[in-house]
């Protein structure tokens, strides 16, 4: 049987949950000797929708895009540092567009074996199922998906990794 976890990708969106997912991905990558990738998608689709609905001005779109790009750089850098600290090689990517579509594209492009996501928000309405980007990524990913829960346990596991 081929190694089922040759390539792992973790999705980072700037939430605490996604950082916990990154810690878990680093631990799993070390244990399974997998190649690790981290992806951040700048949600330009949402920005365009906000201009279209007139909630945003054009100038605001540009300003927020810059903010999101900086956010992506900051979080991907943080994840790189965490991986380096644990002796795990990591490749990071920043793309832009519709989040779940970009995730799917990157999985196909890199032939990812496992997508790791942070804990999903509580689904309290049908609307959440349709529009929550992590939820959509989970449903549309063409590979197995792992959802990371229990922040405290993951933190202990990450800290214990020498």
């Amino acid at each position: 049987m081929n190694d089922p976890l040759k390539k792992i990708m973790v999705y980072i969106d700037g939430t605490e949950q996604s950082i916990t997912a990154a810690q878990y991905a680093i631990c799993l990558s070390r244990t399974a000797n997998s190649r690790l990738t981290a992806l951040y998608v700048v949600n330009t689709r949402a920005l365009r929708d906000l201009v279209k609905s007139r909630i945003f001005l054009q100038a605001e779109q540009a300003e927020y895009q810059q903010d999101l790009e900086a956010d992506a750089d900051r979080y991907l850098n943080h994840v790189r540092q965490m991986a380096r600290q644990k002796g795990v090689a990591i490749e990071t990517f920043k793309t832009s567009g519709t989040v779940h579509t970009e995730i799917k594209n990157k999985i196909n492009e890199l032939e990812i074996d496992l997508l790791i996501l942070g804990e999903l928000s509580t689904i309290r309405s049908r609307r959440d199922e349709f529009y929550n980007e992590s939820e959509r990524a989970m449903r549309s990913a063409p590979c197995p998906v792992l959802i990371v829960k229990d922040e405290d346990r993951v933190w202990e596991m990450f800290e214990a990794l020498t």
Binding site: D13, G14, T15, N43, A46, L47, D49, L50, K52, S53, R54, I55, F56, L57, A59, E60, Y64, D67, L68, D71, S121, T122, I123, R124, S125, R126, R127, D128, Y131, N132, E133
Partner: protein, 149 residues
């Protein structure tokens, strides 16, 4: 974070009593202050007005989404209010605004701010939903409508 997780009874006011744009913003900020979500009302007020000065956030169909990046909050913060009579908010269609979403976020957290606004943009496409919310007579009813949706 889903919008519904932020919309609780303590940050929804029905009805809003103010009759003008600036007063509505102040009334919503006061609601956030009274519920312990912000301390520096003036800082947030100035940031919201600075954004409004660039172009009104009064949309069509009686909806307004005043928003700003501000140091007055530590995380994404939302207040909602309904003015049954409507207020002139400089809306695109020239009609009075009745349903208000005030969104405040810290300058270093653009992601949640964008997600919340995008969710409101999607919701406000459904006129039936907006009509149902606008017709609500209490904060509890507003929260229940959001949970049912």
């Amino acid at each position: 974070m889903a919008l519904i997780e932020l919309i609780t009874e303590e940050v929804v006011k029905v009805p809003l009593i103010s009759k003008g744009k600036q007063e509505i913003i102040k009334e919503l900020l006061q609601l956030l202050h009274d519920s312990g979500h912000i301390e520096q009302i003036e800082v947030a007020y100035n940031d919201v007005l600075t954004r409004e000065a660039q172009g009104s956030t009064g949309l069509e169909y009686g909806i307004a989404v005043p928003h700003a990046k501000t140091d007055a909050v530590k995380s994404l913060t939302i207040a909602m209010g309904i003015s049954p009579a409507g207020v002139d908010f400089g809306a695109l269609d020239g009609k009075p605004s009745q349903l208000f979403f005030l969104i405040l976020s810290p300058p270093d957290q653009p992601g949640p701010h964008i997600e919340a606004l995008a969710e409101i943009a999607r919701l406000t496409r459904f006129k039936a939903f907006c009509n149902m919310v606008t017709a609500a007579v209490s904060a509890r009813e507003v929260v229940e409508i959001f949970r049912m949706e």
